[in-house]
Symmetry: C2
Amino acid sequence: MGDDATGAAGAFSKIVGEHDLLTGDAIGPDYAHDEALVGEPVVPRYVARPQTAEQVAELLVAASAAGIPVTARGSGTGLSGAARPHADGLLVSFEKMASIIEIDTANQVAVVQPGVTLADLDTATAEHGLVYQVFPGELSASLGGNVATNAGGMRAVKYGVTRQNVLGVQAALATGELIRAGGKITKISSGYDLTQLIIGSEGTLGLVTEVTLRLYPRLAHSATLLVPFADLEAITRAVPAVLRTGVDPNILEYIDSFTLAAIAQAQGLSLGIPDDIEKTAQAYLVIGLENRDHDRLDGDVVLLGELAESLGALDLYVLEGHSAHALIEARERAFWMGKAAGADDVIDTVVPRAQMHEFLNRARELATEANAGVIGCGHAGDGNVHLAVFCPDDDTRHRLLHQIFATAMELGGAIAGEHGLGRVKAGHYEELEDPAKIALMRRIKAALDPAGILNPGALLTDPNDN
Amino acid sequence: MGDDATGAAGAFSKIVGEHDLLTGDAIGPDYAHDEALVGEPVVPRYVARPQTAEQVAELLVAASAAGIPVTARGSGTGLSGAARPHADGLLVSFEKMASIIEIDTANQVAVVQPGVTLADLDTATAEHGLVYQVFPGELSASLGGNVATNAGGMRAVKYGVTRQNVLGVQAALATGELIRAGGKITKISSGYDLTQLIIGSEGTLGLVTEVTLRLYPRLAHSATLLVPFADLEAITRAVPAVLRTGVDPNILEYIDSFTLAAIAQAQGLSLGIPDDIEKTAQAYLVIGLENRDHDRLDGDVVLLGELAESLGALDLYVLEGHSAHALIEARERAFWMGKAAGADDVIDTVVPRAQMHEFLNRARELATEANAGVIGCGHAGDGNVHLAVFCPDDDTRHRLLHQIFATAMELGGAIAGEHGLGRVKAGHYEELEDPAKIALMRRIKAALDPAGILNPGALLTDPNDN
């Protein structure tokens, strides 16, 4: 360790306390990675565990002064390498800033520290009959990480993604100031929206030290419909029809037959699908409904059942209690199934929902041409397609993904719908995005982080990386 | 006109055509102002009426080169002077970019040019059984102007403001590039969200040349409840209770008794309120409900009626057909009533909704101390308080507004909930906002508009203004 490094360690240690500045062997292997399937773990030089927002701001001042790259880490459940640290860098772990500060029932908001997990928040809001509606599928994820990636999940079709459910943040800027933007208000038209700028910026514009979240009443009644179709095209046609009814499902997913079979087998789930349907159905639509009133829920189930029949559904299963819960939970674990099956990458491309079928056809053709495979499921209501990609050769896979991403963008979509670009997809993004936008984003980055210490190489590539 | 100006006129004229570059007497008085009550009209040196996005971008290049300030204008219905031009400046009027490009029913989006009015959009979407849910109260407003101010309105309590309903933009940057951000997708996590950065930036970061809007099914059945309460405090308590039911009203307004009486008189509206109630009631809650099903709507009316009674409502009127429509329309005209009554300013402060009563009490005390008056109505569900301020002396009014805005901010709110800061409130904002945020916003502004030509003096004050 050189003099500079010793100096930085001393400065960091003075800020968070000796016990909460880890170096060398004290840094456990978890800090070296998130859940991205691509890329190797990187052990950072320093791990700091701040306890207050002021400490976070002071860490950034010290890191700026020493030119040390800073990576933020919540629970490390990200899928794009945005929490993968630099070997010579500082990892700021929010594990000791994990308090729910307030559940304000009159304003229907929660105020939390960034290290709070979705699971803990869900338990706390449930006590008040409220719910934070963003469920990105991994309840051990932290709110800070959710803000950084603009996390989505199944309920986005009704309630939107993180961006629509975060009302305010406190953030530490790279320049050392602690600012507050937004608050317990759903409407604001006073200055540039710094809350929205920071959401989805993957730790490259500031570190979030507190989050104010919009809550909704937790509705008492819910049902899950599983609807087999002969092919995915029928599902793409069914989705707008379902949304046009005004029934407002809170889940609208598709699962291809391979993935459903894998899910059912892995989880020991019996969904009661007869053999002949199972053989004919290539894709399944999953519709989640909720209501404050049980009779209305039943009415909605009947209405959508009739609609599904008219749209060519092969059958319809109303799942209740355990099997409904198990299916949704299994669907949320689809990433882990892909990982267990040996997928070489997972992607979460988004396209306009009416273009989902065309996109998937072209993605499959591209995969076939590359001797690769893609299977998956996705948020049909949002056109957000999750594909497990089986293609072990790095160069071939890069070319294939480039083609798949380009196809999504041609169709009016984007590379990532909810996982973020991180360090894994930043290169693809720069290859495909309008250079004028990339240049503008670099100017914005420089305006917020003049020393360039915040998560270099994530979201935008780092020219110093190679 | 000097040589530079002649040169600029020639350049602008070459871009939009001679017929669509106005100078001197050809510039009508409408171009000199918006609807802000404060400040004098300013006739700009040039008015350009571009027909294409490319022309807008070229105008910005020419204006940048000549150092000419540029102000964008939609319908000129703004209330904060953000569309008030500079005497030596170029006004870009979007009146000739007013086409609805597409209503895409499968993706439930509309793609429009910025000059399209809300009225025209509403007519077009109605034909498809869809609706754009942002109704800021003035249907002659343009979508471009709505994007610039992040316009809100009554239905925000259910559907959010412009920010939540704009999925993508095409924008001309001050540096001359035309960029696209977002699109027909509700979910995106790929790069900084330039759509969100531009929304609400009041023409200071880029000029929007196309907007992609989220549409919803137009529900068939609606009802309006008018609920008198003895005082506003009771309404502040009732609002969270209404929202906790899960009934999800699309309108949740309060109107003070002065304003309701003025509205009723001006519009010749008979609301059927008995004299004794009219004498006792100090404030009214207006609840809008909608449903795809008539029986469900009736059920919701009954449920909220019972709830209102338990919360101390003095009575409850279910308005139907004409009177419901007339009340909502009259409420939307409250600004014009205030103007006609001789108000010296109108403000649209926002606070957390549970703090609305405290805010209004303190605002009234401050007004009394200043020998001034404030009356109003507001979006109770959003804590967004509209006050007509009667205080003719400029200095006294500035001090009073400073105190009222400071009070709102202390309570966790903001100066403007939906009108924007424009040129009228930019000074207040800079007096009251965290200097670190102002400095950051200036850095962001410089990153997007290095020559500083876009709407100087709006949102942020212009150091060159005095």
